[in-house]
Amino acid sequence: MVQSDEELHSQTRKGDQRAFAELYERREPALFRYALYLSGSRIVAEEVAHDAFIELIGRDTHFDERRGSLEAYLYGVARNLVRVMQRRRTFEQGVEQATTHDVVADLIRGERTAALYAAIRELPESYRDAIVLCDLEEKSYEEAAVLMKCALGTVRSRVHRARMLLAARLKPLMLSAGVRGR
């Protein structure tokens, strides 16, 4: 039987390393991507995902099962950590360049990716969360509504508005690069 996040967390607090490893494998990748979409920086995202789990195993963790799911808590911690780092202005601008053979193509793609990250970052927070969870993390509207603690219809309308804003923002760049929908 698959254990819930909360059960794994409870065992982790008792020193069960296997439970912690399972929880980490299950939640860390999504947490990293979430932080990456919010910050646009892999370095920041790595740090945020790491620190969120450090917070979880620390003595002063504030997670309370009665107030929501562990997943929502982790997203909240990650969001706050990204905010803190943004305030410190310590994260680098743009995305690290990929290291593949076609350098020019990678530069162009890197530029477009950076522009998309920047556009996501500039969205209002509620729109940003909605599009990150639904379109990048591929959560259903129902799951996102639970994580965002709002109604399903609200999530859908935020996703639609966020997409409209992103499309408008990125249109010149996408047209010049000849991006075609699949």
Binding site: R33, H50, I54, A167, V179
Partner: protein, 201 residues
């Protein structure tokens, strides 16, 4: 159905990576605005997929090892904290017991507990001493004095006694002697129970 309703279908089809159904296709052919939106949504979905793939490409072994080490350190810290706490409590208890024993052994004879039965073994010994007036160490029991009650307080008073005072206690010494130093065991009632003459002045 007006364009606002079609837009919902446009966005959801693009998000899901689906081709528009026949009805929507018909509308897109007729409506320039919706067709533009469809193109925008298609492009955006493609970009988001690229970003999603980009974010997912990542090696994780080193990170995993790091966080596991952090976990072990955190657990070790908690364990060390618990051990420290346990040692601290044990040390406090030992210190308390040691101080109690020292206090018991050093307290004056006239503060012995009145109820020896409820006391520790040390006080039982003292009570026995008290109930039997010591006749060793040169103490001489005063004849006809009432016996000490179990656990009764006594005081040992050093004083100077004249021979006639000793005689009143039933202890006869050479009458020609002057006052002589003596230890007198006195019960709670103030009556002497034993005397130890310490020698000529």
């Amino acid at each position: 159905m007006d364009c606002r309703n079609w837009i919902v279908d446009v966005v959801e089809s693009a998000r899901a990576g689906l081709q528009p159904d026949a009805e929507l296709q018909k509308h897109l052919r007729e409506c320039r605005r919706c067709r533009d939106r469809w193109d925008d949504e298609q492009r955006l979905s493609a970009e988001l997929r690229t970003v999603r793939d980009d974010a997912s490409a990542r090696r994780s072994e080193a990170r995993r090892e790091t966080i596991m080490r952090e976990f072990e350190v955190a657990q070790g810290t908690v364990m060390r904290r618990s051990v420290k706490l346990a040692f601290s409590i044990a040390a406090i208890l030992l210190l308390t017991v040691a101080l109690g024993l020292v206090w018991r052994n050093n307290r004056p004879a006239d503060t012995i507990a009145q109820n020896p039965e409820s006391s520790a073994p040390g006080s039982e010994f003292e009570a026995n001493v008290l109930t039997n007036v010591p006749e060793d160490d040169d103490f001489i029991a005063v004849p006809y004095a009432p016996p000490l009650a179990p656990g009764e307080f006594i005081r040992v008073v050093r004083t100077e006694l004249r021979p006639n005072a000793l005689a009143r206690m039933g202890i006869y010494v050479d009458a020609s002697l002057s006052e002589m130093p003596a230890d007198v065991v006195i019960g709670e009632d103030g009556f002497p129970r034993a005397v130890r003459v310490l020698g000529d002045k």
